[in-house]
Each structure stands twice: as C-alpha cells, then as structure tokens.
C-alpha cells in the first residue's frame, strides 16, 4: 500500500464517519415517519456553527460542544413539532417540499445570524499528526472516528436494550400496530428528530476543526448523508454506516486519483448508480407498492 493511498483512505474514512452519522439520522427519521428529512445537513451545520460562535464568545470548548449539540437537538425537535407534525398525512411531494423548505429556512436563519463566511474550530487535542506508514493522521481524525464509533455503539444499545428504543423500532415496523399496543407515535417522531439532530450535530462539531464550516455547509453534507443511507438501503442502520464510509472513501479516492473538481460529483454518481441498478441498496429489502 502506497502512502498516498493510505493518506486518501484516512481522509476518506474520517469524512465518511460524518456521512455515516448523517446517514443514520436519515434512517432513524425515515423509519419513524417515512419522511426523508432534507434538512438533515442543516443539523450538522447548526452544531458546527453554534460551537464556532460559542467558542468565539469565549466559552471553553468543553462547555461549548455540549451546548452546541443541545441547541441542534432543540432545533430538531422544533422542526418535527412545527413543520412535520402539522403535515403528518400529506403526500410525499408535499413532505419533500416541506423538508426542503425547512432546510432553506434554517440556512437563511444561519446566514442572518452568522453571515456567509467560513469558520474553523480549534482542534480538540493539538495538530501534531501521527505518522503511520508514511501517511499523516490528524489527532482530530481520531476524535471524529471515536465519536462516530461511540454514537453508533450507544445507538445500538438504545434500540436493542431500552424500552423506548424498542418502541421506536415497533413504530418503524408498523405505526398502527405500535399505536394499538400503547406506543405514543407522536413522541416517537419527536425523539427521532432529536436523535437525528444529535447525531448530525456531533458529527458537525468534531468535523469543524478539519474542514472549515459555513452557514452553507449543510447542503452538501446532507446530500452525502442521504447517499450513504440510500447506498446502504434506506431504513437499514448498518447500511447507513457502511454506506457513509464507502461514500467518504470513494470521494477521497476520486479526488486523489481522478479530478478534485469532480470530487463533489462522486456522491451523485453513487446515488444515481444505486437508484438505477440496486434500488434497495446493499442491506435493504424489496418493498411492494400498494394500490
């Protein structure tokens, strides 16, 4: 393995971990409500930008990070409560437009609050890279991978071991049946948005020291997250994580070996390829349309 290849692999896995978190956010909301939340990328942006502005105000990083994640979670709950729940039974096209509108609205608010400039957070633990077989690995990359790993593990515990997590899974399987056995499905929807916002914001905060962030950063991150979810098979948690890492690595490799200007197009090529040739993704199951 050449050191250049390893270098691309490291940066691909790092950014891929963020895509995986975003993809998981899509998956959780999709499972809870069959809504594709086009505003998922904005949660990432809100997490990163609020951390930046809190640090800018002199708040220590260890306090700013949980505050930033918390504010993104509040925004997530507000989106569910005020944009999604009033239109619960609307058509798919309507819901798509609502979530796109929400994403544009949040971006607009961020532009008013924070301007359009680019910002960076200080690294959590220094910038001295580790050298591994000739490739540099930033300490912040370890933070990203570690945070993503911790979130995925605790998510697995949440859905596998807690009553509320199981209630969410039950709602994903069959909303009506879950309601019949006493699950409060509106609470599940709120929780799904809170969780998705939490994961997005964690990703945004740990990523901000490596990639600069701006109020417009959400769009492309959201799309990559969606690509991850579709590639993994919409609705599959494992799929979203694998999909995220694959998208990240593919993007880093195409930037390294093909053309850096077409790096952004990689995700779209993957999404079209997946939708055209394997619409159920890597881990998804076929569905049938009802008349």
């Amino acid at each position: 393995m050449s050191s250049a290849f390893l270098q691309h692999l490291f940066s691909g896995l790092t950014i891929g971990a963020i895509y995986a978190l975003a993809g998981l956010g899509f998956t959780i909301i999709y499972n809870a409500s069959h809504v594709i939340n086009f505003a998922q990328g904005e949660f990432i942006m809100i997490g990163a930008m609020s951390a930046v502005s809190l640090v800018g105000m002199g708040v220590p990083l260890a306090v700013a990070v949980p505050l930033a994640v918390g504010s993104a979670v509040l925004v997530g709950v507000a989106v569910a409560r005020f944009a999604i729940m009033p239109a619960r039974d609307a058509s798919v096209v309507t819901l798509i437009i609502i979530t796109i509108g929400t994403s544009i609205f949040l971006r607009g608010v961020a532009q008013v609050l924070w301007g359009k400039g680019y910002h960076a957070l200080p690294s959590f633990s220094g910038d001295a890279p580790f050298i591994l077989m000739g490739a540099a690995l930033l300490p912040q990359s370890l933070w990203v991978l570690g945070a993503a790993f911790a979130v995925v593990i605790s998510l697995g515990w949440f859905f596998g071991r807690t009553l509320f997590g199981k209630a969410m899974l039950a709602t994903a399987c069959n909303r009506f049946a879950a309601q019949l056995v006493g699950v409060r499905v509106s609470g599940v929807l709120l929780a799904a948005f809170a969780l998705a916002a939490f994961m997005g914001a964690v990703g945004g905060v740990v990523m901000a020291p490596i990639t600069f962030t701006s109020s417009d950063a959400g769009v492309s991150l959201g799309i990559k997250g969606f690509t991850a979810a579709v590639l993994g098979g919409l609705g599959s948690g494992v799929g979203a994580v694998v999909g995220g890492l694959v998208v990240g690595v593919a993007e880093a490799m195409s930037a390294g070996y093909l053309s850096s200007s077409y790096k952004e197009a990689t995700a779209f090529v993957i999404i079209l390829f997946t939708l055209f040739f394997m619409p159920y993704g890597l881990f998804g199951r076929p569905r049938a349309e009802r008349v």
């Binding site: 594709i36 944009a83 009033p86 239109a87 609307a90 798919v92 096209v93 309507t94 798509i96 437009i97 609502i98 796109i100 509108g101 929400t102 994403s103 544009i104 609205f105 949040l106 971006r107 607009g108 608010v109 532009q111 008013v112 769009v219 799309i223 969606f226 579709v230 919409l234 053309s259 200007s261 077409y262 952004e264 197009a265 779209f268 090529v269 999404i271 079209l272 939708l275 055209f276 619409p279 349309e289 008349v291």
Partner: protein
C-alpha cells in the same frame, strides 16, 4: 332553406361563444399581457415583467409534470441552464444563428431528458426527488468545471437574439416575445391537460398501478411529459441567455430548481394559472423587497413550509375555492 342556414349561423355563433367561454382564462391572460406595457413605467419594470414571463413559462411546463402527473423534478433549472449554455456556446464560439442554436439546444436537452427519463421516472417519491436532484447537481458541476467551453463560474457572455438580420434590442421587444411565448405555452398546457394524455396523467397521479391496469402505458406517458417540460425549460433558457446577455452555472444550480418547484406549489399544483401566479409573485417579490435581501433565503424557506402546511393546494387554488364556496352561500 332560409331556416336551415339561420340555424347553421346560430350554431356557429353558439360554437364561437362556447369556444370563448372555454378559453376565457387564456384569452384574459392574452389581454393582460397585451395591455401590461401601459402599466410598465420604465426599463426596470419591463425587466421584472420579462423575468416573470420566463419563469412562468418554465413553471407551466413543470406544473404538468408535478401537479398533474405527480412526478417531482429537482433538475429543471439544469435543463434551463443546458439550453442557455447551448445557445451561448453555439452562437458565441461557433457563430451559429441564434434560432438554429436554440432549436438544436432544445432538441439536445430533449434527448438528454429522454435518455434519463426511463431509469429516473421508474423511481417514486423520495427516490425520484433524490435522483433528479443528483442529475441536476451533476449537470451544474459539469457546467462549472468545464471552463474551456463554458467559461466556468465566471459565466459566458451571450450575444443578442436575431432572426434573419432582425435583432431584439430593447426590453419592449423582448416583452412581446416573452408574452407571446407565455400565452402559447399556457394555451398548449390547457390543451394538453384536456387531451387523452392529460387524462392519463391525472389517472397516473391518482394511482400508478391503477392507471397501468386501466391500459395506460405509464412509462411512456411520464417520459413524454418529462421530455416536453425539459425541452420547454431549455427553450426558455436559450431566450433568457440572449436576453440577459450572459449565463452563469448558478442559474442551473439546485437552488434554482427548488425555486421553480416552489413557484409551482406556491401558486397551486395542478393549476396552470396557479403556476403563472406563483412565478409572478415569487419572481417580482424579491425584486420589490430588495431591502430584505439578507433575509431572502429565510423568507423563501418560510414560504415553502408555510404554504405546504396551511394551503397544501397552493395560494391561488385555495383562494379560488374559498371564493366559490363563499359565493354559493
């Protein structure tokens, strides 16, 4: 004999009356656009009106796809951009006559849409939205990156539009072109919707499997509408490029596609005049509210969410429906 010819004259009179009644709204639109110059004080007002006309024409086509066939597209700005760039490149770099460039560009975009239609339109709902978004984004990235041909993010200068030595020079002339285009497009759209194809589209919107079971070739019908609306967007894009004198990749971007969809749903899905109305309001309003420029993105998003929650059928359709029920009372 006299009796017979009298009744014949009466029938033809009744036919004309019926024709006028059936097309009253299109005729009214024609009158409005013909009289509008009286109300336009200066070149700036003309400019807004022309941009309204361009957007409205694209939206009427998009409305047939979204409102009637129920197929969302988040890539129509890319088709618009492709048409514009086809005109810019063919006239600027290869000295083609503008009309030929427009026709060839529209034809090429129609081909692209036709090739994309089968795999893309097989998808439904969220997946369709994502796929069209991917297509649009890839087109925008290509336009942005291949700067040897397109001029990159700085854009491309496009010359004036001329046919057989007669060039469109001022806003007034451009307004007439736009106005005629809009009326033709609206009339064609109304005609299409009342045709067997239009009925097939509405059946498809209700239930795709149901429509297929009733003998409608759903794939063919969807492809036709997709290609038609894409070609229309390309034609308007070509005209826009000549009118504005330049074209940049941002005109082909995702946000522009979203704006077009917003115009359609804001006015009212499945209503030709709703699309015209939505395009008018959402094109003119930002021009008139330049003081709120910083809040433009926020307001656009707020309008999208608010319309969909409180008036999911759109502003014009909801207003007309409540007017009708009020009258009945």
């Amino acid at each position: 004999m006299t009796n017979g010819s009298f009744s014949k004259a009466q029938t033809s009179k009744a036919q004309i009356g019926g024709w006028i009644r059936r097309h009253a709204d299109v005729l009214m639109l024609a009158v409005v656009v013909a009289l509008l110059p009286l109300a336009l004080p200066n070149a700036y007002a003309y400019d807004i009106a022309i941009n309204v006309g361009f957007n409205a024409a694209v939206c009427v086509g998009l409305n047939v796809l979204i409102g009637y066939a129920g197929q969302i597209s988040l890539c129509h700005a890319a088709f618009f951009g492709l048409g514009a760039y086809a005109s810019g490149v063919l006239t600027g770099r290869f000295d083609w006559p503008p009309l030929l460039a427009l026709i060839v560009g529209a034809g090429a975009v129609g081909m692209v849409a036709w090739i994309l239609a089968r795999p893309v339109l097989r998808l439904k709902g969220h997946f369709l939205a994502m796929a069209t978004m991917g297509v649009g984004m890839i087109i925008a990235i290509v336009l942005n990156t291949e700067s040897w041909l397109t001029g990159g993010s700085d854009g491309l200068i496009v010359g004036e539009f001329s046919v057989l030595g007669f060039a469109l020079q001022n806003e007034r002339q451009w307004w007439w072109v736009t106005a005629i285009l809009l009326v033709v497009v609206v009339a064609a759209s109304r005609n299409l919707i009342d045709s067997p194809l239009g009925r097939a589209l509405r059946a498809l919107h209700g239930s795709e499997i149901g429509a297929a079971a009733a003998g409608i070739d759903t794939a063919r019908v969807k492809t036709m509408v997709f290609v038609l609306s894409a070609t229309l967007a390309a034609v308007v894009g070509s005209l826009y490029a000549h009118y504005a004198g330049m074209i940049t990749p941002s005109r082909a971007g995702f946000m522009k596609s979203v704006e077009l969809v917003t115009m359609v749903v804001f006015g009212g899905m499945a209503s030709t005049f709703g699309a015209v109305f939505g395009a008018t309001i959402l094109t003119a309003l930002p021009q008139l509210l330049t003081a709120f420029e910083d809040y433009e993105t926020m307001i656009l998003g707020g309008i999208m969410v608010g319309t969909m929650i409180f008036m999911p059928r759109g502003l014009l359709v909801t207003a007309l429906a409540s007017l009708r029920s009020w009258r009945r009372r």
